[in-house]
């Protein structure tokens, strides 16, 4: 080591210039931006989006006149076949305790099949429907990405113990946590906004080149609402990832916990306790983002006295507000518990 520097305790070199103001927030933004794994995740997310758009462009096509004519021919054929089956059923006789429609089904028309576009190889992209579905899909995919970003943003700090070192500089643990959460929230919101904006551009391009851009009155408001709620989901997912990784103090363990919940616990609930479905994370995430909320079918079938399974159930509508409140409550619980423990615990 050199020993040629000014003694400690004397002003540092460059002391003529004013010292920069201490800023935990600026340091945290710098730290977040410098994380290579986060940059890699964002790059992979961008590449995934571009790949999905390329695939989408091959799946949609504006129909030609010949194609539409072929679709119309197939549609007419399908309607005729269905009518023939129904006529055959009616000819066989309808039981006295049922109506013809109950026993053989209602007569189907071309409109019930969705038009000739349904019978051609590649459907056209319709901004009015596919635009909203795409906004939902982008929100869910981006939420998965930001869950991972949130988890690694704090998990890596625990793995390296750099979080403990930071407390030698800023011992107010709540302030440290609040700063990290603020930076993550802002970053996730930016990612969510960019993803939804990218989808909007892509949807316009697809509509212009592979379908139709005709939209009903109120569509743009619906799309804006879906996109906005999608950004909210993206932010909440990031905070949830952060909260879980902070509790288990490890990125990989938080991903394991996520897998256990989504792949095992939720499926177990759907099969064993279907009445709990309105409280599952996935259902509420969809309910939060989807225009008009989500409909969940709760199976209430039972085995009767004679041992025969009686199928019955009910449809539960989960509103956007319901979904938002449930997801927010889960995130607050997980993050709040982590912060509370961090504030009180001894740290090695």
């Amino acid at each position: 080591m050199t020993t040629t520097l000014a003694p400690f305790g004397t002003p540092a070199a460059g002391a003529g210039r004013p010292a920069p103001r201490p800023s935990l927030l600026r340091a945290e933004v710098h730290r977040f931006r410098s994380r290579r794994f986060i940059a890699v995740l964002l790059l992979l997310g961008t590449l995934g989006f571009l790949a999905a758009m390329v695939v989408a462009s091959t799946q949609y096509a504006r129909p030609s006149a010949a194609g539409l004519a072929e679709g119309q021919r197939r549609l007419d054929q399908a309607v005729a076949e269905q009518k023939a089956y129904r006529d055959q059923c009616l000819a066989a006789g309808v039981p006295s305790d049922a109506t013809p429609d109950q026993y053989c089904g209602a007569e189907l028309t071309a409109a019930d099949f969705g038009g000739p576009e349904q019978f051609i190889a590649h459907e056209p992209f319709t901004l009015a429907e596919d635009g909203l579905d795409g906004a939902l899909g982008v929100a869910v995919a981006t939420a998965a990405l930001t869950f991972l970003i949130g988890a690694t943003s704090i998990g890596a700090e625990w793995s390296s113990r750099a979080l403990v070192a930071l407390l030698f500089w800023e011992p107010r643990r709540l302030r440290v946590m609040a700063t990290k959460l603020a930076v993550l929230t802002a970053a996730a919101a930016v990612v969510g906004l960019l993803a939804e904006a990218a989808w909007l551009v892509a949807a316009r391009v697809l509509a212009a080149t592979r379908g139709t851009a005709d939209v009903p009155h109120g569509f743009w408001g619906d799309l804006l609402g879906t996109g906005g709620r999608g950004v909210l989901l993206v932010v909440l997912a990031a905070l949830l990832g952060f909260g879980v990784a902070h509790l288990v103090r490890n990125t990989a363990a938080s991903l394991g916990a996520g897998f256990l919940y989504f792949a095992v616990a939720e499926n177990a609930v759907r099969n064993l306790r279907p009445s709990w479905q309105p409280w599952l994370f996935t259902e509420n995430a969809l309910a939060l983002v989807q225009q008009g909320g989500a409909r969940v079918y709760v199976d209430e079938g039972f085995v009767d006295e004679s041992g025969v399974y009686q199928s019955t159930g009910r449809e539960v509508v989960l509103s956007n507000l319901h979904g938002g409140l449930v997801i927010t409550a889960v995130v607050l619980l997980v993050v709040g518990l982590g912060v509370l423990l961090f504030r009180r615990r001894d740290l090695d």
Binding site: A6, G9, A19, P20, P22
Partner: protein, 304 residues
Amino acid sequence: MTVIEIASASKTYRRRGKPPLRALDGLDLRVEDGGVHGFLGPNGSGKTTTIRTLLGLVRADEGQLRLLGQPVPEALPQVIGGVGALVETPLFFPAFSGRLNLQLLAETAGVSRTRVEECLDLVALRDRADERFKGYSLGMKQRLGIAAALLKAPRLLILDEPSNGLDPAGIRDVRELVRRLGADGHTTVFLSSHLLAEVEQVCDHVSIMTRGRCVASGTVREVLAGRSSADVRVRVPDQAAARAVLERAGHRVQEADGALRVLAVASPSELTRVLAEHGHYLSELSPVAVDLEAAFLELTGEAA
């Protein structure tokens, strides 16, 4: 001014499936400003818990702690700007370069980038500062930790085993640096170490801990003086005959390093007289000095 003051501090760790561990047991400790204060103790004696408690990482169950005159952990945010610390292993992002790791800490505290370069220079890491931390050798990591601790130009520098992982030249440089810091009139160095020679060479004051308590504290000379052995080394031409004479006179004698060691001598002049009366003339008569190691082992109850 007292830079560290601990009174009756206790800390017990509750452990799953094991009996509780009392890491601090009514610890009293005072470190005055200036110079280098050594902090010695065997493994598990509570040194690191003491440091962690001072830095707010661990909460004491009882007792009062003050850092730079302020109570901690309550006033830690106010005094932390004057405290630099390296506790056990350096804690940095492995994927970040050494320079970036320091810059992030510097931004947190409003330390200039010039100071970052200065500290990198001081620990001879400037040329390797853009390499990733995970690629550093153990010694380089330790040096970066020291650089981080120095960033704030602290009034109190807490170093926990700073020589860990360093090669002999690195150890010499760290000791030189610690000496310089202790002598600069601004910095007090609180040096926790298990290297007794290091403490003896570098420290002005020393505190020795065992089982969560401080069992000795003062200048190195004071701590050693309290453990004076009163043994005397004697060298004569005919050691066998001289030993017999001394034993007949009631002294306990051992042979050591080619000389005689007479134990617990109340009056060395009496020895001279007895030997001279029997025709044995001394070529050496010297007190056996107690070194810090012997004092440490005696105080901590680890002497053989």
